[in-house]
Symmetry: C2
Subunit: 385 residues, 2 copies
């Protein structure tokens, strides 16, 4: 029959691939074909694709890998399978290998052991083509998977969640002199992270702004190894190439604001403090305040090396916490800030001690590790004194 | 100051006690005092109580247990602490011991390490007294904790969730000749579980109906040991006494229907089947149907020892699954039922094989373990053939 195609695929490989691809599929899409996942079976193997038109994810399950036969090709072809059911069905099938066959154009027969599913599929010709990205060596840079994942974790939380300035819902990527720099801000706080990366040519770009949601989905796919990931950026798209996985995201339109002038270059007070102790103290102070609108905590030098962290919620009560600091330079501190911003910033810094640089009760302050300055968190204080 | 009281309590003991007591506290209560947890410190130790007036839970933290000093009494007294914050505060306090002090009548000071919380409490005199239950030996029976927990798990899921017949939202307990019997039904299915229990006298009762929600909270507190639990029932209340924990629930008003006549005493077909294989097969068959209103699967003898489990969802597709059975007696089976009821019933039977007794396509059928008949699940089929 015309259009018939068939193949066998190893269950665990398919479950793994579907879990990746489903991160790009939205149940809220207005484009019916995008509620499906495209299966394309050919001589390379089985290629499955999911997309919500902002993010597209494509996974290849090769015919053979490391001597293991993952896919057995019978007749090549393509079909779009309903995303809502396919992962659960595959997970619950009894056998190790699963047979797919397409009949009567779009009816998919899925067999394994003594089970047989018949699903109504969609025409793969209606599935949108992924944007083509010129994949030439001079446009590529590479970064270890675990480093990219860490850089996302250390910045992405600071993007704006309000749509009034859409450009701030993304993370700015700059590349210059082999230094990749991520910047995120919601205009109340700022997170910056830098790292050295490799490119064959002296590749550089500015104003590449990637939606926060894309990065959050990407970081779920990135593994915690140092395996290099290839990245290619063009005017509208970014492509991240992992082992057998392609991740494609659109970029945000518009010009990202210049944030360099916000970062103070001198300070009035510099303190050094244990990260975990400060984190726990802010957590306690925010327990009563977190239901309030601003979740404000006060941070006050009460003795040279003693800080009081406090908050007050008139109806509930108040909390004060005393905290030893390791070192202080400059004038005593008395400042108020949003506890959530401080918690986010401290959780992003994987360092036993942090230094905090204050430039006055109403000026932004900066939190950094003390070992290196490749990560910087900035918070705008709140007026309460 | 009048009414001042103070004590120290071990953090882990208090966290544990609060986690139990909070199961009885509802944030939706219309009685403000019940948004709090009562702390009562005296010579026995610290007694904490939570209640939503349907369920009350009381935990004693003794002054000393197994040579460990859990509570240090300074001045006795009582206070009601806001439930919304207290557990999180205690969990996040830095020290091993926590100091409580009440000043100015209802201000609670909580100190640990360098942290100090001040919370606005409530007057403990406004907290309702728990109903008194006559705790005489002749009204008590005992049951191992793990057995009671299992009996709840095997019946409670079958209670009705609709309020139109309130009595069916509870589980019926009967005790006669040292046999405790639980019955639950939502009028589409029925779960019955029996066990032998101990009582000093030949205690018996009928028509004791305990709200399903009470049992669900109780089973979270029951531990998985054979430690005996004491149970006392009166006209309106049931009291379950565990080690240092009292659980009190109101009973449902009304007469529970007589379900004994629904259970067929003969069958037209009896099959024996592996529980896990049947469960997995029904799970697959219900994957496509579960979004539909009825989640119907068909169960048909296609050969003597071969069953086809199938379901059809016109828009999505269909599924058929073939299943070997171990034994069949009587005429071939052809029946349809709600997959969820079957899954619930099979998950409640901890037995490698089950026997199912059918009495016709439109009559209730019965699922039991084959080793014993102390558990019985009954399902009303659906007309589709």
């Amino acid at each position: 029959m015309e259009g018939n195609h068939a193949f066998f695929v190893h269950k665990n490989q398919l479950v793994n691939a579907l879990q990746h691809v489903q991160k790009a599929v939205s149940s809220k899409t207005t484009i019916p074909i995008l509620t499906g996942i495209k299966f394309d079976i050919g001589t390379k193997g089985l290629i499955i694709t999911g997309s919500d038109s902002d993010i597209s994810i494509q996974v290849l399950i090769p015919l053979v890998e490391n001597g293991e036969e993952w896919v057995q090709l019978i007749i090549p072809g393509k079909i779009v399978v309903p995303a809502k059911y396919i992962l659960e069905i595959v997970k619950k099938l009894p056998g190790e290998m699963i047979e797919f066959e397409v009949i009567d154009h779009f009816t998919i027969i899925i067999k394994s052991g003594s089970s047989e599913f018949r699903l109504n599929g969609f025409d793969a010709d209606e599935y949108p083509n992924l944007p083509q990205i010129i994949d030439e060596e001079e446009h590529v840079f590479t970064i270890p998977s675990d480093l990219l994942k860490m850089m996302i974790r250390q910045t992405q939380f600071a993007v704006s969640t309000i749509e009034s300035r859409p450009i701030l819902t993304g993370v700015l990527w700059n590349l210059e002199n082999q230094v990749l720099k991520f910047t995120a801000t919601d205009s109340h706080r700022l997170a910056v992270r830098e790292a050295t990366v490799e490119s064959l040519t002296n590749l550089s770009f500015q104003n590449v702004v990637i939606p926060g949601r894309s990065l959050s989905e990407l970081s779920k796919i990135l593994d915690d190894t140092q395996t290099p990931v290839e990245i290619i950026v063009n005017e509208n798209q970014i492509l991240i190439k992992m082992n057998h996985v392609l991740f494609l995201s659109r970029l945000l339109d518009g010009t990202y604001p210049d944030t360099s002038r916000i970062i103070p270059d001198k300070y009035k007070t510099k303190i050094i403090i244990q990260t975990k102790k400060l984190l726990e103290s802010i957590e306690r102070a925010s327990l009563l305040a977190r239901d309030g609108k601003n979740n404000i905590v006060k941070f006050t030098n009460i003795e040279n090396l003693l800080i009081e962290v406090s908050s007050n919620s008139p109806e509930v009560g108040n909390v004060t916490d005393q905290l030893q600091i390791k070192n202080i330079e400059g004038e005593p501190v008395k400042i108020s800030f949003n506890a959530k911003y401080m918690l986010d910033a401290l959780r992003a810094i994987d360092s036993e001690e942090v230094q905090i640089e204050f430039t006055g009760a109403l000026s932004p302050f900066v939190i950094k590790p003390i070992e290196h300055h490749r990560i910087l968190q900035l918070i705008l204080p709140v007026r309460t004194y």
